[in-house]
């Protein structure tokens, strides 16, 4: 994994934001932290991240998806990981509808929360190798 690539992390939970940032910094990335969608949008105006990790449910149920669309509009080549703990709450099952949902979600990877370090690592390796 090449160093000092920029990763935008958007999370409204301060602890989860810390955790994901820590894991990414350990892996040698430069982390741009944003707590909530508004801060995330601001950061996007300033920089083009090489990768984005977004929480799904922030101010709104689908803040993460909205932000994901904006990233893809601005920077079509930036891969996006969306973190979710909402399967049971929204009734959305990302695993079985993967093909279909992917077309409008636009995120490359959906990861369950809490994020397991090894899963995040594996997902990032795969995305940045592509």
């Amino acid at each position: 994994m090449s160093n000092s690539k920029k990763v935008l992390v958007v999370e409204d939970d301060p602890d989860c934001l810390d955790q994901v940032s820590l894991l990414l910094e350990r892996a040698g990335f430069e982390v741009i932290r944003a707590q909530g969608r508004a801060q995330g949008e601001e950061a996007l105006m300033r920089t083009r991240p090489d990768l984005a990790v977004l929480d799904l449910m922030m101010e709104e149920m689908d803040s993460g998806f909205v932000l994901c669309h904006e990233i893809k509009r601005l920077y079509p080549n930036t891969p996006v990981i969306v973190l979710t703990a909402v399967g049971s709450e929204t009734g959305m099952d990302f695993k079985t509808t993967a093909g279909d949902a992917q077309s409008w979600i636009k995120a490359e990877v959906m990861l369950d929360k809490p994020v397991r370090p090894e899963q995040l690592d594996a997902a990032i390796k795969k995305l940045l190798a592509e």
Binding site: P14, L22, Q35, E59, V86, S88, P114, V115, R116, P117
Partner: protein
């Protein structure tokens, strides 16, 4: 609101069917207390057999059903249509009203009776009664539906609010397990501290939830007694004092004297503790919390003013809702279940009062609770 009800008249006499249609054509029932105007469209059939297929295809709301029909009888039609359409309002039309028939029809679910011959006014009066029943039934159904929806929404948010701290704690445990926080022991201390804080938040949410459930269900036995509000406030102040001292916040009761009221001590403590702990939590370091009580007619007015971050008008408007937490960079590290103020308001209303807020961003907020001094007799 307007309702258009579909009325099916089943009678083998053409004259009768036309008379009903004519009487109802421009008839409007105004149910002012329910805020509804009801109009009618009339469809008709001459036999019971036709009536059955018409009910199945046209779904009328009200059926005017002649008892004596050439083929299958009105009673048989009634039995079939009420079986399949429990909400259908059937008015039996009968020339020789016999008690036995009336009992049988009622058992089968007939809503009302009209004795032949009847005047247009008698018909309208029966339709008026049926319309009222129809509208009330419909509104009750909508209310039940709305309640189910709100309940589901509540549980959805609750699940999220419980899962968020779990995810945070679990995330920290992964980091601890794999020793990912580097070599500085302080980093691990911080992780443990944050985990404990999130657990505390979760516990608070669960306790608040139990309070809310008890208030909602009315199951908790209330122990009403004469208590002194000033005394409860003093106790509340002592509870928040350690947290206040730590941040050099001064908490005082500004109004001396005693303020008796009849209340459940536990409930009053929930109100006081919620407001006082909020006033400290959302204050600035070195700020003030001023508590005041005054008598106003039959009520006690209890207010808590802080010098904290304050709220915009828009935030004030939704503050007392369930799971409403004002999220911004200033509140992100402040723990809260999002239920406290909704509990305070429910309790205040239980005492014939209310809970309100006035606020100015960056200056502070004043929360005011009114309580009837004698909202309930001592048990």
């Amino acid at each position: 609101m307007k309702e258009l009800l579909k009325v099916l008249i089943v009678d083998d006499e053409l004259g009768m069917r036309l008379a009903v249609e004519r009487a109802l054509r421009n008839y409007i029932v105004s149910l002012n207390d329910l805020d509804v105007e009801v109009g009618f469209t009339v469809i008709q059939t001459a036999t019971g057999e036709q009536a059955l297929s018409c009910v199945a295809s046209e779904h009328p709301d009200i059926v005017l059903l002649d008892h004596k029909l050439p083929g299958i009888s009105g009673i048989d039609v009634l039995r079939e249509i009420q079986d399949d359409n429990a909400d259908l309002l059937t008015i039996m039309i009968t020339a020789y009203a016999s008690l036995g028939m009336a009992i049988q029809a009622t058992k089968l679910g007939a809503f009302d009776f009209l004795a032949k011959p009847f005047t247009p006014d008698e018909l309208k009066s029966a339709l008026r009664k049926a319309s009222r029943h129809f509208v009330i039934q419909k509104q009750a159904r909508q209310l039940a539906e709305e309640k189910r929806r709100i309940r589901f929404q509540f549980l959805t948010v609750l699940a999220h609010e419980l899962k968020a701290p779990l995810a945070a704690i679990e995330g920290y445990l992964f980091i601890l397990r794999d020793r990912l926080a580097g070599d500085d022991p302080a980093a691990y201390d911080r992780i443990v501290e944050r985990s404990l804080t999130r657990i505390e938040g979760m516990r608070k949410l669960i306790f608040d939830l139990l309070d809310l459930t008890r208030i909602e269900s009315g199951q908790k036995k209330r122990e009403l007694a004469k208590i002194d509000l000033a005394e409860s406030i003093q106790m509340g102040i002592e509870t928040v004092l350690p947290a206040a001292n730590e941040r050099k916040i001064i908490v005082t009761l500004q109004t001396p004297g005693s303020f008796p009221l009849i209340a459940d001590r536990g409930e009053i403590e929930i109100i006081i503790n919620n407001l006082l702990s909020n006033a400290v939590k959302y204050n600035r370091d070195g700020g003030r919390v001023d508590v005041r009580v005054e008598e106003r007619g039959s009520q006690l007015v209890f207010s808590v003013s802080d010098t904290g971050i304050g709220l915009t008008r828009e935030e004030c408007a939704r503050l007392f809702g369930e799971f409403v937490r004002i999220k911004n960079e200033k509140t992100t590290h402040i723990l809260g279940s999002g239920l406290g103020l909704s509990i305070v308001r429910r309790l205040a209303r239980l005492y014939g009062g209310d809970a309100t807020v006035t606020s100015k961003p960056e200056v502070g907020s004043t929360f005011t609770v009114t309580l009837e001094r004698e909202s309930a007799p001592i048990a």
